[in-house]
């Protein structure tokens, strides 16, 4: 497989959120605004790229039986790095993402890529795969965040598009997350069928 398709599959064909339905907790939990979604997506991308790289480098050193715990340690290390870096440099984002940052550790996408890709491929492909998957995830979160923010409070990335009084508050709250994602997936399935 060439590197371009390694990179691009994460955006559409194997998009983690829209087609594989992985990593749903952060997808629904942090997307009350577009910038939160983007921040979460980029944090996950960093963890994904770094853990893919390290795991593909040490894959021959890990005995097969303990590979899952070993992967989890690597992932948890990078999550801790992200957590501390975000607390220091972007405290506002850290505050609004809250509990979901340590929970990147149990995001099925990260462990899934480690197990199904990085443990079988060379470091360069693994980095590209992690980057593609991570940015695809960030894209999905940003789209969902924008839709919810626009419908809920009439803004996009904090910039007012129409007066907030006309917004449907429910889209910023919990039920709106499920409903918006449901319609987005239906829409994407439709586009895929015609494409």
């Amino acid at each position: 497989m060439n590197q371009w398709s390694n990179f691009s599959k994460g955006f559409f064909k194997e998009n983690a959120v829209f087609t594989l339905l992985l990593g749903m907790c952060p997808t629904l939990g942090v997307t009350s605004s577009a910038s939160n979604g983007l921040g979460m997506g980029l944090a996950t991308t960093f963890v994904l790229v770094m853990s893919n790289l390290v795991i593909s480098l040490i894959k021959n050193l890990i005995p097969d039986k303990v590979r899952i715990p070993a992967f989890i340690v690597v992932i948890a290390t990078f999550v801790t790095v992200v957590q501390m870096a975000m607390e220091a440099y972007v405290p506002a984002l850290f505050e609004s993402l809250g509990l979901f940052i340590p929970l990147i550790v149990v995001n099925c996408i990260v462990l899934g890529r480690a197990e199904s890709f990085a443990s079988k491929n060379n470091p360069i492909s693994s980095i590209i795969d992690g980057l593609g998957m991570g940015l695809g995830f960030a894209m999905a979160l940003t789209i969902l965040g924008s839709v919810r923010e626009l419908l809920g409070s009439g803004k996009m990335f904090g910039v007012s598009i129409y007066p907030e009084d006309y917004g449907m508050l429910v889209f910023v709250l919990a039920p709106g997350a499920f409903i918006a994602l449901g319609y987005l997936i239906a829409f994407i399935n439709r586009v895929k069928k015609t494409a």
Binding site: G29, A76, T80, L103, V105, V106, P175, I179, A186
Partner: protein, 190 residues
């Protein structure tokens, strides 16, 4: 009274799935039938309470004591992963019928973010041990309530005439959204 309020808050008002968005994967994944939903709830309750107690002790007597709080994420997830394995082994030996009922769900629980989420929340909210146990048990019950209700609706949904494009995941998500809306009605009780 305080404990009753804590329980109502954890089960209904701040429902772990429908208002905190934790444990969505099993919520969407194993909710096709009521019976599997019940099994999953049992396994989650069991592991959640044990994991919360163990991580609580770890935090208070190891991490805080030696001032290595930054190891929280990494140590908690390892403890939970080991614990799930341990529970599986013990259950297999001590109570085969219970293992039969919960066995298939146990490996899935390591990556259930609700478990790690509740463990971290307990520390953040600064509960003592008794509160932690009540909180984790009622959170697990809240998870079960949402899961089983959702499974019941999905069983009915199979028989419905859903528009073609909405079949499967999209309609399930919209139903979950309506369920979350219903749960919002509980806010303000506590």
């Amino acid at each position: 009274m305080e404990f009753v309020l804590l329980m109502i808050s954890a089960i209904f008002v701040n429902n772990i799935v429908l208002s905190q968005f934790l444990g969505i994967c099993p919520f969407l994944g194993v909710s096709k039938k009521i019976s599997t939903g019940v099994g999953m709830t049992g396994a989650v309750t069991f592991v959640m309470v044990i994991a919360t107690v163990v991580t609580y002790i770890l935090q208070k007597y190891v991490l805080d004591k030696f001032g290595v709080g930054y190891l929280q994420t990494i140590s908690f997830i390892l403890v939970i992963a080991a614990l799930v394995q341990l529970v599986e082994i013990i259950l297999k030996k001590v109570s085969p019928p219970l293992y039969q009922a919960l066995g298939v769900f146990l490996p899935l629980i390591t990556t259930n973010c609700a478990i790690l989420g509740v463990a971290i929340m307990t520390i953040q909210k600064d509960y003592d041990l008794v509160h932690a146990v009540v909180f984790s048990a009622s959170t697990a019950l809240g998870f079960g309530l949402a899961l089983i209700t959702f499974a019941g609706i999905r069983e009915q949904l199979d028989l419905m005439d859903v528009p073609k494009g909405m079949k499967g995941t999209p309609i399930a998500l919209i139903v979950a959204g309506l369920l979350a809306m219903a749960f919002m009605g509980f806010s303000g009780i506590v």
